[in-house]
C-alpha cells in the first residue's frame, strides 16, 4: 500500500477527539502509522479517531482548494468544506478503495464547492478588478515582492479563470495531484486536464506578468 503525503499543518482538533488521541501514546502512534485505506476502513466502521486523523491529514488541502475556487471567500470555503466533511463522515463506509482516499475526498469537495457557488450570488468581474491586477508597476518588481499583494494578485487572477481551468490549476499546482487523479475528480480525461492546465498556466502567466 502506498504511503499518503502528510500535510504540514496540524490544526487543533476539538475537545474530546484530540484529547483521546493525544492522551494515548499507543493510539497516536497507530493513527500516525496507519495508511489512508486503513483509516477509511476504521472510520467506516464508526471509529471517530480514525476519521479525525483523515480530517487532520487532508483537511488543509481541501480547504485551500475550496478557498481558491471560491475567490478567497473564507466563509464560503468553510461552508463548502463543512458540507463535504459531513458527507464524508456519512458516506465513508461506502469507500471501497478503488481510488486513492485523497482523490475520493477531493471529488466530494469539488461537488460541494460547486454547490456553494450555485447557492451564492455571482461575483461580477468589473473593470476595477481587472485594473487592480493589470496596473503596471512603476518600481522594480524586487521592491514589490510583498507576499500579501502576491496572494491577492493570484486570488484575483484565479477568479478570472474559467471554473474547470481553475480547478485543474489548483489541484495540480497547489496540491500536486496527478493528471489521472485530477481527471478522476473532475470526471474527465487526463488529456482534457492537460489542455485546461495549459490554458490556465498561459492565462495566469499573463496576469502575473507585471510581477516579474
Amino acid at each position: 500500500m502506498h504511503v499518503q503525503d502528510m500535510d504540514g499543518s496540524s490544526p487543533d482538533l476539538p475537545p474530546g477527539t484530540s484529547g483521546r488521541i493525544r492522551n494515548s501514546r499507543a493510539a497516536v502512534s497507530f493513527e500516525e502509522r496507519a495508511d489512508d485505506a486503513e483509516l477509511a476502513r476504521r472510520a467506516g466502521l464508526g471509529d471517530r479517531e480514525a476519521f479525525a486523523e483523515i480530517f487532520r491529514r487532508h483537511g488543509p488541502a481541501l480547504f485551500r482548494y475550496a478557498l481558491g475556487m471560491l475567490e478567497g471567500n473564507a466563509a464560503d470555503a468553510e461552508d463548502a468544506v463543512q458540507n463535504a466533511w459531513t458527507r464524508v463522515w456519512l458516506r465513508i463506509g461506502t469507500f471501497r478503495g478503488e481510488a486513492r482516499l485523497r482523490t475520493w475526498l477531493f471529488a466530494i469537495a469539488a461537488r460541494e464547492v460547486l454547490n456553494q457557488r450555485r447557492r451564492r450570488r455571482p461575483v461580477p468581474v468589473g473593470d476595477d478588478l481587472l485594473i487592480a491586477v493589470a496596473a503596471p508597476l512603476d518600481q522594480e518588481p524586487e521592491a514589490h515582492l510583498d507576499h500579501e499583494q502576491l496572494r491577492q494578485a493570484l486570488t484575483l487572477a484565479l477568479t478570472e479563470l474559467p471554473w474547470r481551468q481553475r480547478e485543474s490549476w489548483i489541484l495540480r499546482e497547489m496540491e500536486g495531484l496527478s493528471y489521472d487523479d485530477i481527471a478522476g475528480i473532475l470526471g474527465t480525461t487526463p488529456t482534457v486536464v492537460r489542455g485546461q492546465l495549459h490554458r490556465a498556466r498561459t492565462s495566469l502567466a499573463a496576469r502575473m506578468e507585471k510581477w516579474r
Binding site: P11, T17, F51, P60, R64, G68, A77, L145, A205
Partner: protein, 155 residues
C-alpha cells in the same frame, strides 16, 4: 503581444504567490477546523434500530453502533475486520451477523475465524443482552489476504 507561457511551478513570483496563498489558507483552516470536525461528527449516521434487552426493559441501539462495537473487538492476530453486516427483522430483531475479514498471508484461517466468531458472540451478548439469543451463529467471511502479518492485529 502573446505572453510567453511560464509554468507557475518554475516562476519565482508564482511560487511566492502560491506560498503566500497557502500560508493564509492554512492559518484560516487552523481556526476553522475544530468546529468543522465537531459539526461533522455530530451528524448521526442513518441506520436502523436493533432491539436489545436491558435488565430494566427493552433498549434500541442503532445499527452503526452495533457495527462499531463489534469492529472494536480485541485483536485476533493476522485478522483485520473489513466490514460488519447485520440482518435486522421488521421488528428490529437482529437475526444474523456477517463479519467480513482479511487475513494476513500465512495465518491459519479456520482457528482465526473461530476466534473472530467467539469474540463476536461475546460482544453481541454483552451489548444486546438476552436479545442476542435471537441472532444466529455469526458468519465469518474471509474476503481478502494481505501481504504479511500485521504488527498490530487490528481485528
Amino acid at each position: 503581444m502573446i505572453p510567453r507561457e511560464v509554468s507557475p511551478s518554475r516562476s519565482r513570483e508564482m511560487r511566492a504567490a502560491v506560498q503566500a496563498f497557502r500560508e493564509v489558507a492554512d492559518a484560516r483552516w487552523a481556526a476553522a477546523s475544530p468546529r468543522v470536525l465537531r459539526r461533522s461528527l455530530s451528524v448521526p449516521r442513518r441506520s436502523r434500530l436493533v432491539r436489545a434487552q436491558a435488565p430494566s426493559g427493552p433498549v434500541g441501539i442503532r445499527e452503526h453502533v452495533v457495527s462499531a462495537h463489534l469492529a472494536a473487538a480485541p485483536a485476533v492476530e493476522g485478522v483485520t475486520v473489513v466490514g460488519i453486516h447485520l440482518d435486522i427483522d421488521d421488528d428490529d430483531t437482529l437475526t444474523a451477523v456477517r463479519v467480513e475479514v482479511a487475513v494476513a498471508f500465512g495465518t491459519v484461517v479456520r482457528p482465526a475465524a473461530d476466534r473472530v466468531r467467539a469474540e463476536t458472540k461475546e460482544r453481541l451478548q454483552r451489548l444486546l443482552g438476552a436479545a442476542a439469543g435471537d441472532c444466529a451463529e455469526p458468519h465469518v467471511h474471509i474476503g481478502d489476504v494481505t501481504g504479511g502479518p500485521s504488527p498490530e492485529g487490528t481485528a
